[in-house]
Amino acid sequence: MAFDIDKYTTNSTAVAWDDLDFDEFDRNPLPASTLRSLVYMCNVEYHTVCYLRDLLTTPSHKEPEVGAFMTMWNREEFWHGEALAAVLAKHGITVDYDELKANRIKLGWKDRLDPIKQSLLGGLVGMDFVAVHMAWGAANEWSANAAYLRMAEQENHPVLGELLKRIAKQETRHVAFYASQARDRLAASKKARVIARFALRKFWGPVGSTISSAEEVTHVMGRLFGGEEGRKLIRDVDSHIAKLPGMEGLTIIETSLDDRGIPADGPGAHERELISA
């Protein structure tokens, strides 16, 4: 089904948390390892504007529907960052503009060269490069959605759970946009399918892996997707990606977990923490 951009823009709002009782975090604070994952996720959300930059190096934003989506998506993700920052603030962890700026500065030359690399690739590949971005975005949004829902389930915290479900609901709409764009564009061009498949297979990494240390990526992925239950979820996400035209048989997320030594069976890191507690 085609994505209804008018409906999406009309309903696009900043995720709300004013109505949630954040004092619950004083009575029932989150454990340190959860906060560590939340910091990672918060950083990723705030970093969306930098992903937007890479998307904008392709000519796709001149299409009204894509430009409209990017405007709303970028703002919604910014507000996901604000919401998670508010949770962290209740635990004495400050994420403010200075820290975000510091993190962006620390990315150094790679970050400075990225837009040039992206633009040159875009120039070489042409319009089909848009399809690569869309397939990539779909994989990212699918896994982000799974991560939020998984964390909500694991923590079983009344306030955090509700907030994460609200965020995940917005991510579902992002998935719908990226997937429908990717489907159409991949279906229309063999070159797009070949390049997108190559790019996902060779270069895709978990969301946030380009801006966080390997240790943090392994912590978050292990906690959310380690063990039998987590792996089941990830196989489900991989199966969605594999349904995109030309992506049959891809298991990019499962492979990225294997590469990081995250166990595929038994209890996950989170369950093990619960058992030992």
Binding site: N43, L56, H61, P64, Y97, E99, I105, S119
Partner: protein
């Protein structure tokens, strides 16, 4: 990020309160963390001497109170009754397209060091959102008057002036230049944005003269732009006042800019129409003088003010 502990929890030494004077970067940093800390502390104060923390434009509040769709609050009855002149429709469509070209502008800003400044990017994310809905409000006017959303006339060719070639650069050249310019380019970007908002506010006032039924809608639009101007003016003033390099880069950007921002993508015909309609009347010339005065009052930009106004006058 901090590898083995909760990132951000430790964070960097925040010395901003004590560092009100912008100094050139000290050459003897011992670690990259120290270098980053210094870049963070490298925030010039407001021009009235207050620190950013004590009195700056509240970006979080701006983001929190952003204005979305205006469709429920537009007074369209009067304009639907009186209709719009051909010139009013054309100017309205042009302004709508300019409001809608934020992603192009975002790209040009984000491929430079401006994307690292989280306070500026938070502003830009909200600014783009508000402009999206301003464009939608202008669409609602055209729908109410029964005018076509888009012109059926062919757009005509672009203006091919050699001086404008720089403004047509793609992201690669912009990113390379951005890497050479470094963080002081932010000053040039906020100054350019500021001048652009002054110009488009003048264009909306002119639209109000061409279509009196639009009075309340134009007031609403220019009210939203007032907040954008408040942020951009404050940022431009403090950054320009603090650094000679910032002033130099701002002069360079302002000299090359095609006004209003985004117009470079429009046909020569449309741009000539815009300049003639908005600035070609005695009232338009008064607007140009006003803008020239405002630019000249910004730190270090007096020399470029006449160049900007000369380019606005048809």
């Amino acid at each position: 990020m901090h590898p083995s502990t909760v990132p951000f929890a430790g964070g960097f030494a925040r010395t901003r309160k004590g560092s009100h004077l912008m100094t050139s970067r000290s050459p003897h940093f011992e670690s990259s963390a120290e270098f980053v800390a210094e870049e963070i502390a490298f925030e010039p104060p407001l021009t009235d001497g207050r620190s950013l923390e004590d009195g700056a434009f509240d970006v979080r509040e701006f983001a929190r109170t952003a204005h979305g769709s205006h469709r429920g609050e537009l007074d369209l009855e009067q304009v639907a009754e009186s209709g719009l002149s051909v010139d009013a429709v054309r100017l309205l469509r042009l302004l709508r397209d300019l409001e809608r070209s934020t992603m192009q502008r975002m790209r040009n800003l984000l491929v430079t060091a401006t994307h690292k400044d989280a306070r500026v990017t938070a502003f830009l994310s909200t600014w783009a959102f508000e402009k999206f809905w301003l464009a939608d409000a202008l669409d609602a006017v055209l729908e109410a008057t029964g005018d076509d959303l888009d012109s059926s006339a062919p757009a005509g060719g672009l203006r091919r002036a050699a001086a404008e070639r720089k403004e047509r650069r793609g992201p690669v050249m912009r990113a390379i230049q951005g890497n050479i310019d470094g963080p002081q380019i932010v000053a040039a970007h906020v100054a350019t944005g500021l001048v652009d908002e002054w110009i488009t506010q003048a264009a909306y006032r002119r639209l109000g003269e061409l279509a009196t039924g639009l009075h309340s809608i134009i007031e609403l639009i220019n009210g939203i732009k007032d907040r954008h101007i408040a942020f951009l003016a404050e940022e431009a003033k403090r950054r320009l006042a603090a650094s000679a390099k910032a002033r130099r880069l701002a002069v360079r950007e302002l000299k090359n800019m095609v006004w209003p921002v985004g117009a470079v993508e429009h046909s020569d015909d449309d741009r000539t129409f815009f300049d003639r309609t908005v600035f070609g009347t005695p009232g338009g010339r008064a607007e140009v003088s006003r803008i020239q005065g405002l630019v000249a009052a910004l730190p270090g930009l007096a020399s470029i003010a006449p160049t900007i106004s000369a380019r606005l006058i048809p």
